[in-house]
Amino acid sequence: MRVAVIGAGVVGLSTALCIQERYQGLVPSLQLEIYADRYTPRTTSDVAVGLWQPYLSDRGNPEEMIWNKETFDHLLGQLGSPEAKEMGLFLISGYNLFKQPVPDPSWKNVVLGFRTLTPEELELFPGYSYGWFHTALLLECRSYLPWLTARLMQRGAKFFHKKVESFQEVSGDGVDVVINCTGVRAGELQPDPELQPGRGQVIRVLAPWVKHFIVTHDMESGLYNSPYVIPGSEFTVLGGINQHGNWSEENSAQDHKTIWESCCQLLPALQDAEIVLEWSGLRPARPRVRLERETLRHGHCQGEVIHNYGHGGFGITSHWGCAMAAAGLFGTILQERKAAGPLQPRL
């Protein structure tokens, strides 16, 4: 039984692994195939620093909060394992800063040690009068994606470097189920006006004295359009750009200036930091994640597609919960096949 996953970012690879782990034992003929034109370190996931943090308020999509929590709990469970370092997973604490008091986020009890900032702590951040401190997780995709890839290969998954132009191209080739994890470019396979790029730009620097994340919020400029400083295992990432509808993957000098000046204002010692790399990525923004089945008909054939895309700026944050949900949909397909019996026409 062949399953084609289109997309090799964090969503594609984790969904593939989840399906493989859950069903390979039950379906010995299960063959996972991953198709993508971009692999790590060139995926959108690689641009993100990897901090687990949902949006401040849920958008009226309660299942997204469940997927976020499932992801956090799963990763927390992996922390003590010998795999953690190879996965690029570690605990990190830090600050969320606001210019006025805000309600606590719905995920305050998912993270560890959530509390509001004391007046002494706020002295560190002139211009911000309110904030949170908590301990979360960081999952670096430059380690995590290779780790997922290695696990998949160990169990026989195959990888193809290819730009898939249509679902038919893959499902017409004898593939039983297609998993669509194409992120921001999902519209090229099937038009989706709700999916828009949320362009981000980040500067990667050497600043190993920074041990906390600092994420600022400005209700007027909007989500991710306010400076943030997030330390990874080797580099610290400076960001704070989110341009809805902008498809450019080129670095912008104006955005560089915005990020650099606002982050140095936040942490004056950053002026000494050496810039290592600067790049842009397109968050696959959508009012809600598209995580659902679709039966596509092409001539007298039909194929099952499971969509799993549109995770905006919380792809890493939600990836495992979504992978499990997608795997659940796959399981439903398996059950239907089984119920239909062995005379089901080959797709």
């Binding site: 922390l79 003590g80 394992s81 010998p82 953690a84 370092k85 190879e86 690029g88 570690f90 605990l91 990190i92 604490s93 560890l112 040690g113 509390r115 900032l117 004391t118 002494e120 702590e121 002295e123 560190l124 401190f133 301990t135 600043a207 190993p208 004295w209 920074v210 041990k211 906390h212 330390p231 295992s233 080797e234 004056p268 010692a269 002026q271 000494d272 930091a273």
Partner: protein, 341 residues
Amino acid sequence: AAAPKVAVVGAGVIGLSTALCIMETWPSCSVTVLSDQFSPNTTSDVAAGMLIPHTYPGTPIHVQKQWFKETFSYLFAISNSTEASEAGIHLISGWQVFKNIPEEELPFWSDVVLGFRPMSEAELQKFPHHRFGQAFTTLKCDCPPYLLWLEKRLKATGTQMYTRKVADLWDLHSEYNIIVNCAGLGAHHLVGDEQLFPVRGQVLKVHAPWVKHFIRDGDGLTYIYPGIHRVTLGGTREKDSWSLSPDPGTTKDIFDRCCSLEPSLQEAQDIKVKVGLRPSRWCVRLEREILSQGRVQLPVVHNYGHGAGGFSVHRGTAKEAARLVGECIAALQGSSSRAKL
């Protein structure tokens, strides 16, 4: 009277910070730092430089708290400035965990560090062998950067620094008017202080940059302190051991204890082993003394014996030492006025 000539003996964190405080408080002085060792070969260079106070049985708590507060404020301001990375000062959060509930749940310094609170049940799950814990944010002074930064500031004020082994404070009486004794463990021989004793500490300095939090066992023996480039893993507290040679059995023991607190340390690379002898004493010796031979007098200010808590109180004791130097200066000027009468 001519500008007083002050010699500071010792160039660890205490000597350098005391010299700087003297220059800041009494700019008319000339200050010279004399030491047989400078960074990176001082006891301070081995220490992690964490701002978590050690309690001195012989010093009133309110005094220790004042010293800690002054030190914390001073470093907090630097950490928030453009000089932070050069000075090696950074904020760090983490946990102090206890296998048994401590007698004192609120240490005297809990309201000086930031965000101090008991750990939640969820946080304690990460430490299955421990039943209670405290979470807070404090500061760390990385050495050598901090000592080098102090040296740079001293040079900018015109302070001279010389490598010189001082065998007897009296040897300095013809060149200097006031001696400030920041010799650390060296004071044991230099001034014959039998109350001063080494507490040997072995540490590992490892490459594990994904560790962003400090973790300290409340027993003070096992700790993980991430610095700018390396994580310090410790440690030992061996009273009266003068050995500066690393012990391989101890290395393994420290590594195992720290991995038990933080399993990902198994992947740590490039392990370097260091030994420091904490200059321990029942209380910090922070006082004036007048040495005399015949009719010649030599005022001395002692500032040593900080044991395990040097970094935590260094600025506070430096300021007090500078104040005592001021008393010496006043006494010298008083006696020289009397001499003129």
